[in-house]
Amino acid sequence: MVTTANNIIFELKQVNFFYGSTQALTDISMDFEKNRVTALIGPSGCGKSTLLRLLNRMNDLIDGTRVEGEILFEGRNIYNADNDPVEIRRRIGMVFQKPNPFPKSIFNNITYGPRLTGTRNRADLELLVEQSLKQAVLWDEVKDILNKSAMTLSGGQQQRLCIARALAMKPDVLLMDEPTSALDPISTAKIEDLIEELKKNYTIIIVTHNMQQAARVSEMTGFFYLGRLIEYALTTDIFTNPQVKQTEDYITGRFG
């Protein structure tokens, strides 16, 4: 694989991260490529979710956190004081571990973000809802019940709605924090198919506990352990020919 500078969307340089005095990430340097699916794996508490939440500045919401090093998004440091986290989060969408639709109608869940950022026209919004739901492969299931509460959907449908909601903001990147860990196998398969489809247009970074999932959906995989990036390579290499003993132990199930 040839990597040139212009298809790199995220560039992390010696990133350290602290919750108060506890260091959660140590000296992380890695690049994320455009229109690829990158998986972050590792045992609980290894810092993979923390890293994901650094990429759209969600960790800002926690008191007493501190970032060192540089996180460049399209070449500019998102932690520079003149970069507005609100602006950054519009371009970098996020899907959470537990489906978290708003207690609003399906329609209003999708239009919530766009409406607050300038799209007011009803026809535009309707088109956006249809596009987003189609992209999230949910349209056929909900097109007749758009005014029903999102809370009446099943867990898997709710998670696809959350993906549609994120896509409605037309982001460049989609961050997914264990998006299927609360779902049944059939819903999980649907989300994985969806990821396969979405990677044509979006850069996807996915945190997962499920190693088969990482192997199935991603092209690059990073293995984290105790806040450090242990190994980062093509997914096929990580799973067939890991270079570091800890990676091998983890993927063969010897710990974690």
Binding site: V86, E87, R90, N100, L116, A166
Partner: protein, 292 residues
């Protein structure tokens, strides 16, 4: 199964029954106290109630006639107190739970709010007299009384609002922020609407308290007697609790006006319950829509 274990199960079951009955008794006692109080008020006050009683002003040195000016006065004072305390209380709660960095300063503010809740109501009355009536020259008026009552119920509203805001799942905030909506937008569109039923609960408690207090309005708003209805917020008004106080202690016709006293209390209770019922209806309608 042997005899001992049988015995011990019977014994444990008996113990359980005893404790169930104790807590049952406690609950019954509370209900009985409330029911008894209401029955007593209704029984003693009902014969005073008539259309004239609630639509006419008092006459003949307040031994006859109605209590209309007091009903209107209490209504205005309560409404004014809520209008002042609700925005201020909700805003404070938003600051404390959403914006302020949790630390020493917030802890001091919270202690302050709790202390305010424990201050005797007559102290609020004196403060209102000194500050609103005299210093700000509002005089004895609806404005002074509503401000004093507003401060009195502020801690209740702040406390309930803060609890309600905290009860909104953090995941809603994260979902909204992750979409690139600002913090203020998130509070306005997601957090507040979902906290509203809880905030209303606080307001209900506040309304009940504001309508029923005598001491805070004694020096700040309440008139001994005035037949005319208020024309501006700078007018003095009669108020139901103060009217009862006056008739029951300060008049020269205490015995003759017993039934008017009970009638006034009955109207006061009905007024507070009425306002409560409206708020409860709004709250349950809201809750029906919010499910998570």
């Amino acid at each position: 199964m042997n005899l001992t274990s049988d015995n011990s199960i019977t014994w444990r079951y008996a113990k359980q029954q005893v404790f169930f009955n104790i807590v049952r008794l406690a609950a019954l006692l509370i209900s009985a106290a409330l029911g008894g109080l209401l029955l007593f008020i209704i029984a003693s006050g009902i014969q005073a109630i008539s259309w004239d009683f609630i639509t006419l002003p008092p006459r003949d040195s307040m031994t006859k006639g109605g209590i209309m000016p007091a009903i209107v006065g209490t209504f205005y004072l309560t409404l004014g107190a809520i209008a002042i305390a609700l925005p201020l209380g909700v805003a404070s709660a938003i600051y404390l739970s959403e914006y302020a960095r949790q630390g020493t300063i917030v802890r001091i503010i919270r202690i302050g709010v709790n202390c305010l809740a424990g201050v005797p109501s007559v102290v609020f009355g004196l403060f209102g007299l000194g500050f609103f009536v005299v210093y700000l020259k509002f005089g004895s008026s609806i404005l002074s009384g509503a401000l004093t009552l507003g401060i009195l119920i502020l801690p209740t509203i702040i406390g309930a609002s803060e609890e309600a805001l905290k009860a909104v799942p953090q995941t809603f905030r994260e979902a909204s922020l992750a979409l690139g909506v600002s913090k203020w937008g998130t509070i306005l569109r997601i957090v507040l609407p979902n906290a509203l039923p809880g905030i209303l609960t606080g307001s209900i408690l506040g309304i009940g308290r504001a309508a029923g207090e005598t001491a805070p309005i004694m020096f700040t708003a309440a008139a001994f007697f005035t037949a005319k209805l208020p024309e501006s917020i700078f007018d003095e008004v009669m108020a139901l609790p103060y009217h009862v106080y006056v008739l029951a202690t300060a008049g020269t016709h205490i015995e003759e006006t017993r039934s008017i006293q009970y009638g006034t209390v009955l109207v006061l209770v009905a007024l507070v319950l009425g306002i409560d019922l409206i708020a409860i209806a709004i709250r349950s309608a809201m809750r029906k829509r919010k499910k998570w």
